[in-house]
């Protein structure tokens, strides 16, 4: 008998505008010791499927079909039976451990709570409970004293481990992990994925892994199901689904996570590479916040028409460096030169500089004022700089450059009426309206769905080709650097530890840290990936995990 079996599961939400179907006739099975990956973009219904297993959906949800847990239909259970099954038979590692843990209880208590509730053997005495908690923490490679900590005292990776320990507290046979590594750094992500894999094989549990990131699933799952619009569009052995996707949606998803070193996913040819004059140069730039140093002496160059990727984990200082290059943050030491002249300090001088160098932010949803229409958002820069000329024409031109056509159709739209990719195009159009020479893009695709990432990256490449627009792309994603950059600079603890052409840095890394980053990228083709992280990291934990 299957551990978990979904038969013809459909979920509808009653909304203000009638019923919305989130999940349509999904059928899936999972055996003990098996890992099933559920892939899809945001809003495809994958989390709804997860929540329906323990009947945790909000009250306005209507469920059809069967959810069989060890052969028993969850939908038919009485409240008492359901409470007994929850956590004891199946548990959940929730998305965003930050919010899924109660902030005012010690994590030890939170792990012990379900043990006491479900009367796990030996939970009668408090000493045996605390020893079980220590054992669970040990399993997830955390010291026993972690039990005394409050959630806010732990890093993101540590919280995720606590969530996993909590999920194992009642020794369930089924664990559902909903985006367990989203919001974690690549290195930490690799550690958490390894941990999950080990637990599955040691404990013979069934694991359902939900993620938008195919590469994450590829490295952990036996089987893979891809969802789109509430339906499963492709299902099969993980390796096969990723290596030879048959459904177009799966193909798009797979393409969005390029493999470093794969020539097919590199979109830059040698002829593109520019040897233009130096546009922007940072010399020994250093930024201190009080006693902490965010940027510790950086030298960096961007030439005209060149795309440079600045790669690093969160907390490496890459965003601070970007703000400094834009003149939004004054360096503590060193200087920034644009076309050989030092960045002006006066308000009017900086304003003039902003016509040359523009910013594209990570999350277009929050980068656009929700009250401003597309027209106002794009015209904002024109109005600030009082640029002469016919405003509507200029706005229309910028929008067409960003491939929003016909531009007039988008004029009155508000950001919430657009898709994520369209919003990012509006942000880019707003920057283009000023006719800059250089774009500084801070994680330009990190918050976008996989299928639109490629389009935005293609847009950056096309703008370079057509407008000779240089770009400094800040990212944590080595695959992105591989796809579009001419040169790569790797940032670590406020310093640039390595820079050079993409081929040099990513195919023949010289610095240990670059190798660690490369090793942590989930690989799905063959076994090119080293078994262990070969490099001993010298990072203080808060830096690494923050």
């Amino acid at each position: 008998m299957n551990l978990l079996e979904l038969r013809d599961l459909s979920v509808h939400y009653r909304g203000a505008r009638g019923e919305v179907t989130a999940v349509r006739s999904v059928s899936l099975g999972l055996e003990a010791g098996e890992t099933l990956g559920l892939a899809g973009e945001s809003g495809c219904g994958k989390s709804t499927v997860a929540m329906s297993v323990l009947r945790l959906l909000p009250r306005d949800a209507r469920v059809e079909g069967q959810v069989l847990l060890d052969g028993e239909d969850v939908r038919g259970m009485s409240w008492g039976r359901l409470r007994a099954v929850r956590w004891a038979a199946a548990s959940v590692v929730f998305q965003g451990a930050m919010h899924a843990l109660n902030p005012v209880h010690r994590v030890g208590e939170q792990i012990a709570e379900p043990m006491r509730l479900h009367g796990v053997t030996g939970s009668a005495s408090s000493s045996s409970v605390s020893s079980s908690v220590s054992a669970l923490l040990d399993q997830v490679e955390l010291p026993a004293r972690t039990a005394r900590a409050y959630p806010h005292e732990l890093s993101g990776g540590q919280k995720q481990r606590v969530m996993i320990a909590m999920a194992l507290a009642c020794e369930p046979r089924l664990v559902i992990a909903d985006e367990p590594t989203t919001a974690l750094d690549v290195v930490v992500q690799a550690q958490v994925l390894d941990l999950l894999k080990r637990l599955v094989s040691e404990r013979d549990i069934g694991l359902v892994m939900i993620s938008h990131d195919l590469s994450v699933l590829a490295s952990t799952c036996d089987r893979l199901a891809v969802m789109q619009h509430g339906q499963i569009v492709e299902e099969g052995p993980a390796r096969q689904v990723i290596a030879a996707p048959t459904h177009p949606h799966t193909q798009t998803l797979a393409a969005a996570f390029p493999t470093v070193g794969d020539p097919a996913s590199r979109h830059v040819t040698a002829s593109d590479t520019s040897t233009g004059p130096v546009l922007l140069r940072a010399e020994g730039v250093r930024v201190d916040y009080g006693t902490t140093t965010a940027v510790a002496g950086v030298d960096l160059e961007v030439r005209a028409g060149e795309i440079v990727a600045l790669v690093g984990q969160s907390g490496s200082g890459k965003t601070t460096l970007a703000r400094t290059l834009l003149g939004l943050q004054r360096p503590t030491a060193g200087r920034v030169l644009f076309e050989g002249a030092e960045l002006p300090r006066s308000a009017s001088g900086l304003r003039a500089y902003r016509r040359q160098v523009q910013l594209v932010l990570q999350d277009p949803t929050s980068a656009l004022n929700p009250r401003h229409s597309v027209y106002e958002a794009v015209a904002e820069g024109l109005r600030i700089h009082r640029i002469a000329g016919d405003e509507p024409t200029q706005v229309a031109e910028a929008l067409s450059h960003a491939e929003l056509r016909p531009p007039e159709r988008f004029f009155p739209s508000l950001p919430h009426e657009l898709s994520g990719g369209q919003r990012q195009r509006v942000v880019i159009a707003g920057a283009l309206a000023l006719g800059p020479r250089l774009l500084i893009a801070d994680e330009p695709v990190a918050s976008l769905d996989a299928s639109v990432r490629g389009e935005i990256l293609a847009l950056l490449l096309r703008l370079r080709r057509e407008l000779d627009l240089a770009a400094l792309v800040i990212t944590h994603d080595l695959g992105l650097a591989w796809t579009i950059a001419d040169r790569v600079a790797v940032m670590y603890q406020g310093e640039l530890v390595e820079q050079g052409t993409v081929e040099q840095v990513l195919l023949a890394p010289r610095h240990d840290y670059t190798r660690t980053l490369l090793a942590a990228v989930p690989q799905h083709q063959g076994s090119t990936r080293p078994d262990q992280l070969s490099v001993e990291l010298r990072l203080p934990p808060h830096r690494l995990l923050g």
Binding site: L361, A367, N369, F411
Partner: protein
Amino acid sequence: MTAIVWQRRRAAARATWREFAARRGGLAGLIGLAVITLLALLAPLVTDVSGLDVTRATARPWQPPSAEYWLGTDHNGRSVLLLTWWGTRVSLVVGLAATVLSVLIGTVVGIAAAHFGGWASAVLMRFTDFFLVLPSMVLAIALSTVLPRGLGTIVLAIGVTAWPATARLVRAQTLAVEARPFIERAQALGGGHGHVIGRHVLPAVLPLVFVNTTLTVASAIVLESTLSFLGLGDPTRVSWGSLLHAANVHGAVSQRAWWFLVPPGLGVVCVVLAFTLCGRALETVLNPRLKGER
């Protein structure tokens, strides 16, 4: 281009109105306010001011309600209905004027404290915090005792004691807005302080200020009635608070003169409740975070 903008704004206003009208409490409050305002405006047209003059009062004092005097008479033999009706005007005017004053101070201080940062903002915030915990009534009593009696004093006393709550709210909202990446985008586009405040902060803060205004009017009216009840109001004008002051001083409770006690107090309750209901409904409509919760 502006045509599109205006079209949008009209549509947004219509949508807000529809949502507001769907809330029974808010709608009831609004209707109540409209009726009360109308009554206050009509008072000089349909009634005779001379009825307020003590020297011309002819009726017997402390009369219970009758056909002639629907709400009875006070200790001077004046009609309680007439007094309460005219009291509406002073209570509303003082409440609104004091609110405008306090919301103005609060908004300016709040935005300044959040936007500019640095030590000046720290001092400003300390100052706000100090006034926030200071019991506003005690301060208002002190102010209206030492200043000459009059409507202006009452307005000033309420205005300068009620602003810190607005300042804090506006400051929090400004900080929240300024933490959003679109502010950074505006700065990267070259926008200065004026641009950021005018185009991004103010439009985002104003709905909240508006909600806060309706709620502040409610407390300002209560504060006005309390100060007048303590005898600190304008002695030459009739307000609900001063009526209750007279009732208390002349022993309406021991005379069991409920008709002198109930109408002015009920007036306060109705106006305050109407403003509060409106404010809460507006809050739910304009603050998306609260939608569907209250």
